[in-house]
């Protein structure tokens, strides 16, 4: 999936993946897509819940070699 911006949040523990995601999202326009890489497993449910509460759309998730990837479209 094509992303307008990629955020590397690997190695960071909660709450940092969300804090960084939120900051990166602020730099995007509505409709643009942010790709996020994390290693903290807890981020999965949190990113989904955060997207929902913020009106964003979590479009896709993937896991490669213990790296979790997320694509979120700004709402």
């Amino acid at each position: 999936m094509n992303a307008d911006k990629v955020l590397d949040a690997k190695g960071l523990a909660c709450p940092m993946p969300i804090v960084k995601t939120r900051k990166a999202m602020n730099d995007l326009q509505t409709g643009q897509v942010l790709e996020i890489h994390v290693t903290d497993k807890g981020a999965q449910a949190d990113l989904a819940a955060w997207s929902k509460s913020g009106g964003h759309e979590l479009m896709e998730t993937a896991e490669e070699n213990d790296i979790l990837k997320f694509w979120i479209r700004k709402g």
Binding site: C14, P15, I18, K41, A45, D46, A49
Partner: protein, 375 residues
């Protein structure tokens, strides 16, 4: 104002002493609804940390001024952040050290009582997950039953009271938590006993635990008698300790009964479960004190934090033991089951020795409540 840490052990004391506590749980809503710290006088507010990144001003009016406040998250990081924000807003607060991860792993040893010849039995209460394990101690020796994977808790406790662990037993192949049985046995050179019918696929050596086995702890001082009691699993075995205590495993709990489906064969095993509960257990003395391997709700705890009740009282009060109609019983234990425990298939494979996940992975597999019972 200040923010300080509170340990899982300190929270346990508050659960047992029924102390007031206000818990601000900052995990996401679904994790909170799935599983949280339970206490009779605990009050809860669930606001995810990611909704508080701009500040805590919006929730200050929901936080009481006259109670201790504990901020809780999954692993600690977010609770420290929120606790710091609250302290800057003028409150005195605590955060849970190690988060729900530490809460899930904390074991609280409770002395249950004395047996013949000065022997003793202890219950290890895992409040965060509702798991119960046991140590029977006699004349310098000890047996550990249904241990959790936090084996240091048992090894250190045995050291502290000056006993050597000589036998390790599991009532059945667990599906809700990873057994520490094999590792304790390896660390202490103890014998590891498992019911052979549950151990058909295990990859390691064990002693077959069968009905009629008598295991002696501390030179004839105390006996553990095995009693085959299938139903939760096909091999499930109960123990009668010193003719006084019935360790019922996951067959019979205080306010619920075991579920027969976690090894995939609910319909086959429901008959065994009924036979065990309504016939085999009926033949035992009603004076036996039942010590199960789980509790489901905090109301099942006694005043001292233990989970124990006379078999006679359970026959009178436990709904699962009072269903005369067999069809209705079958319906209860196969038709209306709660969700299965997190990662229960992987947990079973770990307990068989088929897979060996690392510590972090094991911790993750055990997240959530035990869900071994039906009410």
């Amino acid at each position: 104002m200040t923010f300080k840490q509170m340990t899982a052990a300190e929270v346990s004391k508050k659960v047992i002493n029924k102390t007031d506590l206000f818990i601000l749980d900052v995990r996401n809503e679904s994790d909170f609804n799935d599983w949280k710290i339970e206490g009779q006088n605990f009050e809860f507010l669930n606001i995810p940390y990611f909704d508080l990144l701009d500040g805590v001003e919006g929730i200050l009016d929901q936080i009481p001024a006259n109670k201790e406040i504990l901020v809780v998250c999954a692993k600690e990081g977010s609770s420290v952040m929120v606790a710091e924000m609250l302290s800057e807003a003028g409150l005195d607060v605590f955060y849970l050290m190690g988060g729900m991860k530490a809460w899930s792993e904390h074991l609280e040893p409770v002395r249950i009582g004395e047996l013949t010849n000065g022997a003793e039995i202890y219950q290890f209460v895992r409040l965060g997950k509702g798991c119960l394990s046991y140590m029977v101690v006699s004349k310098g020796e000890a047996a550990v039953i249904d241990s959790t994977r936090m084996i240091d808790a048992y090894l250190d406790f045995a050291d502290d009271i000056g006993v050597k662990i000589t036998h390790v037993l599991d009532t059945h192949l667990h599906a809700d938590h990873i057994s520490g049985g094999r590792r304790i046995a390896e660390a202490t050179n103890a014998a590891y006993w498992l019911p052979p019918k549950d151990a058909a696929e295990v990859t390691f050596e064990y002693q077959p635990l069968e009905s009629g086995n008598v295991i002696t702890i501390g030179h004839t001082a105390i006996d553990i008698q095995a009693l085959y009691s299938p139903g939760h699993t096909i091999g499930s075995t109960s123990f009668v300790v010193d003719q006084k205590y019935l360790l019922s495993g996951d067959i019979l709990f205080i306010d619920s009964i075991g579920r027969p489906d976690l090894a995939g064969l609910a319909k086959d095993w429901v008959g065994d479960l009924r036979e065990t509960l309504y016939t085999r257990y009926k033949e035992l003395s009603e004076e036996l004190i039942v010590l199960p391997s789980h509790f489901m709700i905090i109301d099942e705890l006694n005043e001292d934090g233990s989970v124990a009740k006379k078999l006679g009282s359970l026959f009178a009060e436990n709904h699962g033991l009072n269903i005369a109609d067999e069809t209705e019983f079958r319906e209860l234990v196969t038709g209306n089951l709660p969700p299965q425990p997190n990662a229960y298939q992987e947990i079973r494979e770990t307990n068989m020795g088929k897979i060996e996940p690392d510590n972090e992975k094991q911790r993750e597999m055990e997240i959530g409540p035990n869900r071994c019972a039906v009410r």
